[in-house]
Amino acid sequence: MVVDDRELKFSQAINEAIDTCMAKDPRVYVMGLGVPDPKGVFGSTLGLQQKYGTLRVMDMPTSENGMTGVAIGSALVGMRPIMTHQRVDFALLAIEQMVNQAAKWHYMFGGQMSVPLVIRMIIGRGWGQGPQHSQSLQAWFSHVPGLKVVMPATPHDAKGLLIASIEEDNPVIFIEHRWLYNVSGPVPAGWYQVPLGKAKVVREGSDLTITATSYMTLEALRAAETLAEEGIGAEVIDVRTLNPLDETLIMESVARTGRLLVADTAWKNVGFSAEIVARVAEKAFPYLKSAPCRVALPDCPAPTAPELSRYFYPHAAHVAAAARRMIGLSGDGRMAELAPAVPLDVPDPSFTGPF
């Protein structure tokens, strides 16, 4: 099909996923700050209110906690809300409802009700988003039984995973990285799912396994390219669903390569990257040829000044250096070469601030 070759931006893929589900199922509705406004959550909700009306596409009061409860309540009586937060950080106000209520409602009432709720949250980054607008808290949500946690890295997966999340009967935490929003890629038209709980080998290799989350998948792929030029074959796995984790795929890969590197968008300490390392250490220990390694944020709040954020965010060069060290080579070889072409506080040259 020719249509399947079309390219969409990540934000458009999200938009199309919502549109597809709303057209298909009248129970699906969207709620969030600024959802129907002229910017439409960085484009991801543009045009939906025009199409589906003010009842199904709602702005809301700045009441993150209460509105999450409202979403849960509506889900209990048969609706399928999609709640949107422009930053993960704002959603911290709603943790009680997400974790005590949404995550447990099915379990604590013996399976009688379910909470088909998708909570979209965007991780901010760069252009001085700073300490309170750029946290990447997937570890938190993944720690809580009853929540599914999804982080797409490509437009194709964004659409397919979001459709699967909306059609899922459990609460899904759907985390989108702001730096992916302008990335384009092939996105099939119409309805399709990328199933939850399945990771994906996005590049094959036999010398080490790099498992990556969200935006770090792109950095891992860039690293793998350079490594390949040096004769190192890095297999890159895009985790895609953090909970439930596709342990099988990761173990199979590590059993083949004998080496594990984890690249995550979050802080290293007690982060999601620790879980992958721990599982592999527990379950694939005999296969490991060298110590596993994490490339993640240093354990410090996100600074605002662009000069500091340059040192805060690891990128392809860090991944490649870590990989080289795991293989027993010197890490620093070609660091400079892999440094990003654009200033490190914007995702691409088209981005001129402020959000």
Binding site: G66, G69, S74, M108, F109, G110, G111, N170
Partner: protein
Amino acid sequence: MEREILKRLFSEMLRIRMVEEKIAALYPEQEMRCPVHLCIGQEAIAVGTCANLARDDYVLSGHRSHGHYLAKGGDLKAMMAELYGKVTGCSKGKGGSMHLVDLSAGFLGATPIVGSTIPIGVGAALGTVMRGEGRVTVVFFGEAATEEGVFHESINLAALKKLPVVFVCENNFYSVYSPLAVRQPEGRQIFELAKGYGVESHQADGNDVVEVYEAAERAVRKARRGGGPTFLEFKTYRWREHCGPYYDNDLGYRSEAEFQEWRQRCPIDRMKERLVRESLLRQGDISEMAASLEAEIREAVVFAKESPAPEEEQLFDHICSP
């Protein structure tokens, strides 16, 4: 008011009282191994409110929910079995006293984080509107829940969207052992909070079931015809300890005199006197009523005690919906 309604209000209150007394009596056996928050003394609010609801209207509640569950028509056996941690419990033993539910009765759930079911109730109301249903949703909560920000977020949304929801605040003056004076400003009545949102708001005697019934009737009717939310504050008093089966006035956080004053205003005694005075019921009728309730409750306890406990593998049931 119709005689049949008066009699029903009385018997429902008596039923809740007797269930709670039975729990208090059996709790020291240590077979109900979960926290229980008894509503003895506060029965009129649950009963007077729920008497205005249809079976498919929704109710949500918090930690002190036995009365609300029963008044809405929740299954007694399933509740007792839940308190005993049995698979036959309304939540299959996963929840205990603090997590009651009976979907067939429109009792959508109770959870014990103070204030947290308030937005969920408002969301249920929003959901019913979106689905074009004519249901009304009632959320019960204690006065401490009005101190949680989420209460305000919820009532703001209910007012904004004119949702068919009735907020029922049972003001029993204490949050655990803490009096209102250390939690809310002096000289301000709780029902006035709601007025700031432009929400119709009333205060009434929570120990007078007829007063409750009438206030709730107006609120429910208004909600049902699309008139939006109402906030009702009912003053009342919890007789027993905050959590558990005993009296605790000896602790000193409240006075015996205060307790006795409220004890005199027992909603059930007051109603009984009226019914007898107006010859709607004779003492004999009441004894009969009590005997049949006692039999029902005893049967529920037997059911609960004899039901099987959950098995190990059930631990992992229902983490996620399939």
